[in-house]
Symmetry: C4
Subunit: 207 residues, 4 copies
């Protein structure tokens, strides 16, 4: 597969996001991975093990929606968690996975499999929410090194919860998506802000 | 209405403030909105839904002091909360609304409708305060999607508390103002600093 | 008094420090003030009420060591707390006063008039300390708007504690000094780091 | 010893890391020291007492693996802790020592001599770890001003724990290493992230 101008444009936009996320401390130690949809059947995704704060177009490769490489390089081990989102939801254009301290700490502190965010004005940042007077449930999946099994588990969850804006993997990180990179980043920023608030509220109340 | 040099100058100054506030994490996920007075009868205000860290002059529009657009575009849903301040207080030149973690967390943790800040030297940043040996009460209003009703409630509050330097909306954010953009920003910076201190003191004492 | 090249050089160095301290959040809302010694009888000090993150040479003035202006402008209200240090200690070349959250919170939380820092390797940043196996006592003075009275109180304290590296004013801020601006900044950075550690330790242990 | 192009390249790379670490607040008040291997018998190391956020090539010197200077200048007092690592492990190319708040606070809070990090996905950043379902023990040595004695103690520890990725010195800081500067920095970033998470978890649970 030839690397087109589209490939480079998408890569450069993800590299800029990577620089921003690294400065925030959300992709420490080469963690995290990013992708954008190329077309109905493929996406670009970060190659395995790269520093996410200084990505170049050569740090990305094209994959099909089963996560198989269409260009040179070794895709991130978690590629399937990206491509399942593009395969299932036609309106998803970008997926970001990162590890912020809030995500890591909260996903370990909460013993159940759901984090409920309730009553915040900023919930309105998520699609389809037009009031603070509601709640959004963020699912927490157990961490595993068997990515195919986790992808299946996530897929089953979507059957009953198609409007989920993001999910956490316990002690690991967050997956977040959007119709394009700007809306994906808006979702991620809203989610992490709400998790930071929730974490501080727990420190105040030991709830 | 023609977009004058004044309009562009005010927009560019607000865009610079937006970049600063975004870097601080106080306007996550397109939240927040900013305005400055144009003249006795109008103000410029951010358009609805824009990223507050990278505003351009085209992301602003002129409104009258009832919040009705005087130039193209859809004003922020909370425009009325800005214009009521310009309409009521002739010496207000700038209004900033943002969502910092401290504002969000504290406004949810405090069950009453007032946050009292007492004994801090930095209280002197607020107009009319010349000693640390005093207190300032910041009102907390319940959040609502009915902005006109909230504007009325705020207006009634000002009847009995004309010297209030800012107010909080529960689980939502802060409104802050000043005679010009510099003094508005000084008030906002002082307020958020004091809220951060108060939050840390609560973590130490579980007060 | 003519504003010499020395005056401008000292002002420009302090302006650069101001930009750094503002970025750290230690001089919110025009708080803080800075000075450097000009000669045996005079110093330059920030003018009253300026934004400490964007100082220009015109935001400084020369004062004698009683705090009286030698050039145009209104010196900071706390000028006397700077000049008493230059008058008393011939080897002091720079004084920084700022308001960090750690300073503000800890000085309010501690009920006594001393903060003891003990057992930290970083104590060695202070002059005359060459082991971690010691302690440094930082005095806390009550806040007051009577700066002359506070200067007297500080002066009396120095009679019995000449090696103090810094002092706190309750709910207000810190005064820190050094033989030149670099060593003053090193002391300030060490102190705030140690206060941040102490604050976090108190959050862990509620000591 | 002539200062070669290699010397300058290694110094410039360490200076860039120093700027980054200073911005993070991990090398306050001239603390910390950095090194890279020159060859089988020597390394470059930061000179004593320099500001770690603005290092120039003249702020480094060459030392042999007993810590003795091979070029002009006074090496950091802790040079031996760097050179023992190069002497013992042929595949170590870079060593970073710094003082972050998390390192300082946690090493004082934990009464034992080990900090166990368990169940985090980010453990995989350390060499030889390929699952979250494990733990890594970070040793904590008592602080001392007798660097030769500490070097001996560390050396003895390595006899039984050759795969340790880093160690803490109580109330002092962390030593971290890697085959080259990038992998050393990846280890340090991973470690500090995990310590930040652990610290926040302790604040939530008072464990």
């Amino acid at each position: 597969m030839k690397q087109t101008k589209q490939f480079f444009d998408l890569a450069i936009a993800l590299a800029a996001i990577g620089e921003d996320l690294h400065r925030r401390g959300w992709v420490p130690a080469t963690s995290g991975n990013f992708s954008q949809r190329l077309d109905e059947h493929s996406a670009i995704v970060t190659a395995s093990g790269r520093h996410k704060g200084r990505l170049a177009p050569t740090d990305f490769l094209a994959v099909d929606l089963n996560g198989q490489p269409l260009s040179d390089g070794k895709p991130s081990a978690e590629t399937l968690l990206h491509t399942q989102l593009y395969a299932r939801f036609a309106d998803i254009g970008a997926v970001l996975h990162c590890h912020s301290p809030s995500v890591t700490v909260l996903s370990r502190q909460i013993s159940g499999n759901t984090l409920r965010l309730e009553g915040y004005e900023l919930l309105k940042a998520f699609n389809g929410i037009d009031t603070h007077d509601t709640f959004v449930d963020i699912p927490i999946f157990e961490n595993t090194q068997d990515i195919a099994a986790l992808a299946d588990e996530v897929d089953t969850y979507f059957n009953s919860h198609p409007n989920t804006p993001a999910y956490l993997i316990r002690g690991h990180g967050v997956y977040c998506w959007g119709e394009d990179l700007d809306s994906c980043m808006r979702n991620l920023e809203a989610l992490d802000f709400l998790l930071q608030c929730d974490l501080q509220e727990r420190m105040l109340t030991r709830k």
